[in-house]
Subunit: 298 residues, 2 copies
């Protein structure tokens, strides 16, 4: 029996694209809240005896976790042959270390919770910093779809004489990969974080940046405070307004407007999280990764 | 090492009461949201080598589940000898059957999620309808603190010539227990539910109710639509405005104001969920149940 694909709320576009490209049955699911705040979930399309794909990008994960776990557990109970999760953005990757005694390493706990209820996972560029691979915390096989080739292609098509700029050391892995593929130079700024939203950056060599179009690149744009601090530094050195590229358009609160106001010439993201800034379509690459899991199972 | 007790947000009063009565160390915990909506959690008081109690009443459980699971998992990771959960109101008890194909039986899935991360559970009057015992779905030992003796004592102290009224068949177990202890007669109305908030009730024998003070009793007051429908029926038969007693003050949205507007003479609940209507203190009974678990472990 062919696979059925179900969108958790807000993921309808990607689910429809995957259904279309991979010839999956578009599944209908009801997910709503009772008046007391508890979740009601129903698979309106039968799931017994077939692979089930759940599509749920995991930004704002606290609002989604229980519904997703209910869906995965119920699909198994009802006899799905496998439950795959397509989460283009994977939340809870940043708390990867006990920075102070007593802290929860939520990345690992969240991974264990999900791993118990799914059979495989497809995501794009999870924020791997101290964890070197999802396999360190996820007990199920996963495929990571890299956004770097897509970002590099976008830069080549849209930016003359780019220089890629990583706003902090954690961004180096993304920036160097994109720069390598795009055939462009890159520099990494130094960040000093003083709080969730209070960040300054430093760069020792602004000469590298002159006469080129600065392209700030990061994996996650959340509060945008890191990129905003980078823009301020570039501005001090008299550089052009930068293009800001992000893989994941988290944009907490008014972060998108604040990043524009801070002087971003343009803000472009992939569609791992649906957002007005999405300008780079990653769905084909995700479809390929999903197809590989489905063909293993059949 | 003596046990430490930690309040999840909103449960500080009960945690302090238990710490005081049982000579536990009041623990400090930081639980906050990052700007992107993810939860940060830290035990500020050490938990290693001692029993840990988490206090978290589970109304509005979708907002709380992940933080609670993070806390329980982290306490274990950090070497707590046992993790007990005190949840005076236990959410997700009502979806106890697949009423339609494809539905999630969330009571069982939620119970499995919690059971993996805790060692014991104390709650008060969980909504056991099709499940006859928490042991059917919870894999850990639990103690259920009955509210009936407290409701009965309140009625004897405050109501002359009461007749207890159960607004629907599901309420019969609570109402008959309270009536028996209070030494009062009781009747059960018949409910026809047409939607989450659309309920009518019927009663074949209004004569039983005359010349007595009607006391509506239920375990959970959520939308209050069941009690409101009951009040309307009592009013049609010319009975006095009833006293409304509930164990758990869920009160979704404006339900409390609507129940008053519908003609409740008084609304009184226990403090399993902190609410302005709390008039019956269940904390001593909960402390006794907790003490029993702690003495087993020591």
């Amino acid at each position: 029996m062919n696979a059925a694909i179900f969108a958790l709320p807000g993921n309808e576009t990607l689910a429809a694209a995957l259904a279309d490209r991979l010839q999956l049955e578009p599944g209908a699911m009801t997910l709503r809240s009772f008046p007391d705040g508890e979740t009601y979930l129903r698979f309106d399309t039968p799931v017994s005896g077939r692979p089930v794909l759940l599509v749920c990008s995991l930004h704002d994960p606290d609002r989604k976790a229980l519904g997703l776990l209910f869906a995965a557990a119920t699909a198994r109970e009802l006899g799905a042959t496998a439950v795959g999760l397509v989460a283009p953005y994977l939340g809870y990757m940043r708390q990867d270390h006990r920075f102070r005694d007593g802290e929860a390493i939520t990345s690992a706990i969240f991974a264990q919770l999900l791993s118990r209820h799914i059979d495989w996972l497809v995501t794009s560029d999870p924020h791997l910093h101290r964890w070197k691979s999802l396999d360190e915390i996820y007990a199920v096989p996963s495929t990571v779809v890299p956004a770097a080739p897509l970002l590099a292609a976008w830069i080549r098509r849209h930016v003359d004489s780019p220089v890629l700029i990583g706003p902090d050391a954690e961004s180096e892995q993304w920036v160097s990969a994109v720069a390598h593929i795009a055939g462009a130079p890159h520099v990494i700024l130094q960040k000093v974080r003083r709080g969730d939203r209070d960040v300054i950056v430093r760069n020792s060599d602004p000469q590298l940046l002159r006469n080129r179009t600065p392209v700030l690149v990061d994996d996650i744009i959340s509060t945008a405070s890191t990129m905003i601090a980078a823009i301020q530094q570039l501005s001090v050195h008299g550089l052009r307004p930068p293009v800001c590229l992000g893989v994941h358009a988290v944009f907490a609160g008014d972060a998108h407007a604040e990043l524009l106001a801070a002087g971003a010439a343009q803000i472009v993201t992939t569609n791992t999280i649906p957002h007005a800034s999405n300008g780079i379509d990653i769905n084909d690459a995700i479809a390929n990764a999903v197809a590989a899991f489905l063909s293993e199972k059949s």
